[in-house]
């Protein structure tokens, strides 16, 4: 039955993509402890991996100036892992030859190679699965769907680039804000004990997490301006944490059921933080540092606590 389902999915995907991209790669694995690696460079590539079983691992890397790429991973079973990256880190090595007989001095600089207009999709059913999605650049889409207990998602978009220059006396480090814009990270998790972590830097990004179940956790971090973070949790004993820095960022947390905790931290200007909770013994905390920020908490139910601090 498992083989039939996986095969059908693969046939549908290959048929629909027949007239599509420059390079297409498909992997189907049924069984335990499988490993699939897909690496693509260039434009308009598609990588699809389907695995069914236990402790399988998919690694999909689309690197070196990638644009318009699609990476899809489907996994069913337990303890499976997906790693998807679009964009990469580059390295420059400069060699300086001093005057005289002194040894050459090599300097090494790392930088980000951005990816644009690309999509990474991970779908996992089962328990204790993990998905990691990393995208450098603009207008990217990262989506993760998980059905089952104890699953986790880590999504990172538009990292702060770091230039490191090593020389004989030590290391010079310089952070360079990557021009990352307008990407979307979405996570949908159904079942208990799920975890999502979303980190975005740059401008105009959106991070959305939807979780249904008990003991869920959501962590969203955004730096830059005009970013939106949304976390919706249905179920008790869940936690949502949003941290935003920069200008005109907005955070929204909606929680239903009992003993939930929501916290929002915003530093900068004209930030908007909103927490809505319905249920009992919920706790909401907002901390804002800067000017012209707005914090709003609405709670419905009994024995709830709201705390707001603005400095």
């Amino acid at each position: 039955m498992r083989i039939l389902l996986a095969s059908t999915a693969l046939i549908i995907l290959t048929a629909t993509a027949a007239a599509a991209s420059e390079n297409d790669a498909y992997i189907l694995q049924v069984g335990d402890h499988g490993k699939a690696y897909q690496t693509q460079e260039g434009f308009d590539n598609t990588a699809v991996a389907i695995q069914s079983g236990l402790r399988n691992r998919v690694t999909q890397d689309q690197i070196a100036g990638s644009t318009g790429n699609l990476a899809v991973s489907l996994q069913t079973g337990k303890l499976n892992t997906v790693n998807q990256s679009q964009g990469a880190e580059g390295t420059i090595v400069d060699t300086l030859k001093p005057v005289g007989n002194a040894a050459p001095v090599k300097t090494k600089t790392t930088f980000d190679i951005p990816s644009a207009d690309s999509a990474a999709v991970a779908v996992q059913t089962g328990t204790l699965n993990e998905a990691t999605q990393l995208q450098f650049g603009s207008r990217n889409l990262a989506v993760s769907l998980q059905l089952g207990k104890g699953n986790s998602v880590v999504q990172t978009q538009g990292t702060i680039s770091e230039e490191r220059t090593r020389y004989e006396g030590g290391t010079i480090r310089k952070e360079v804000p990557e021009a990352s814009r307008n990407s979307f990270a979405g996570a949908l998790q159904i079942a208990d004990d799920s975890h999502v972590s979303q980190t975005q830097s740059g401008n105009g990004h959106t991070a959305t997490a939807f979780q249904a179940g008990l003991d869920e956790s959501s962590f969203q971090t955004q730096s830059g301006r005009d970013n939106d973070a949304v976390s919706i949790q249905i179920g008790g004993a869940s936690r949502s944490s949003q941290t935003q820095s920069g200008k005109k960022n907005s955070g929204l947390v909606i929680q239903f059921d009992t003993e939930n905790f929501a916290e929002q931290t915003q530093t900068g200007e004209r930030g908007e933080g909103t927490i809505l909770q319905a249920g009992f013994r919920n706790e909401a905390e907002q901390v804002q540092a800067g000017v012209k920020n707005t914090a709003m908490i609405a709670q419905f139910g009994r024995s709830n606590v709201a705390s707001q601090s603005q400095k």
């Binding site: 920020n293 908490i297 709670q299 139910g301 400095k311």
Partner: protein, 163 residues
């Protein structure tokens, strides 16, 4: 704008299923954000604390750092702490056994607190030109502390029993 729409929709949705809110929506909405109005009377008591002499030079509402808290139900608590200038606080609590605490440090701050259960409000303001007139003192348990220069008086009002 988006926040307002979401909040309005959320309040509207829950008001359909919450008997405690029946007929009190107008009072609630009047309480939130009524930062320049006189004290309300009737079911919902509003404690409004502001700086009288500095009002003409206060920035527009959109330039103000604001904190809004709304709670419907019993035994809820809200704590708001603001430091710096031109802050605004609005707390609305619908139900009984609730506690509202607002602490503001700085100039040009506003605080508006509304409780339908008339339970307990604590307000602390430290800054310049603070004023709290007699008609703004609530008729339910409240602790109001003002400290600063240029105030009409340095006042401590502790009406912990109903007048």
């Amino acid at each position: 704008m988006r926040t307002s729409i979401i909040l309005s929709a959320f309040i509207g949705l829950l008001s359909l299923s919450s008997p405690a809110m029946a007929g009190e929506g107008d009072i609630l909405l009047a309480g939130i954000g009524s930062q320049d109005g006189a004290a309300h009377s009737g079911e919902a008591s509003v404690l409004h604390a502001a700086i009288a002499d500095g009002r003409r030079s206060q920035p527009a509402a959109s330039d103000r750092t604001t904190a809004h808290a709304f709670q419907a139900g019993q035994a809820n608590a809200t704590l708001i702490d603001q430091s710096g200038g031109t802050n605004g606080t609005a707390i609305a609590q619908l139900g009984k056994g609730n506690l509202a605490v607002a602490s503001q440090t700085g100039a040009y701050n506003n605080a508006s607190l509304t409780q339908t259960g008339n339970d307990l409000v604590i307000v602390s303001q430290k800054g310049v030109g603070l004023t709290l007139t007699a008609d703004q003192i609530p008729d339910y348990p409240a602790l109001v502390i003002q400290q600063g220069v240029g105030s009409r008086s340095v006042t401590k009002v502790i009406p912990l029993s109903k007048r």
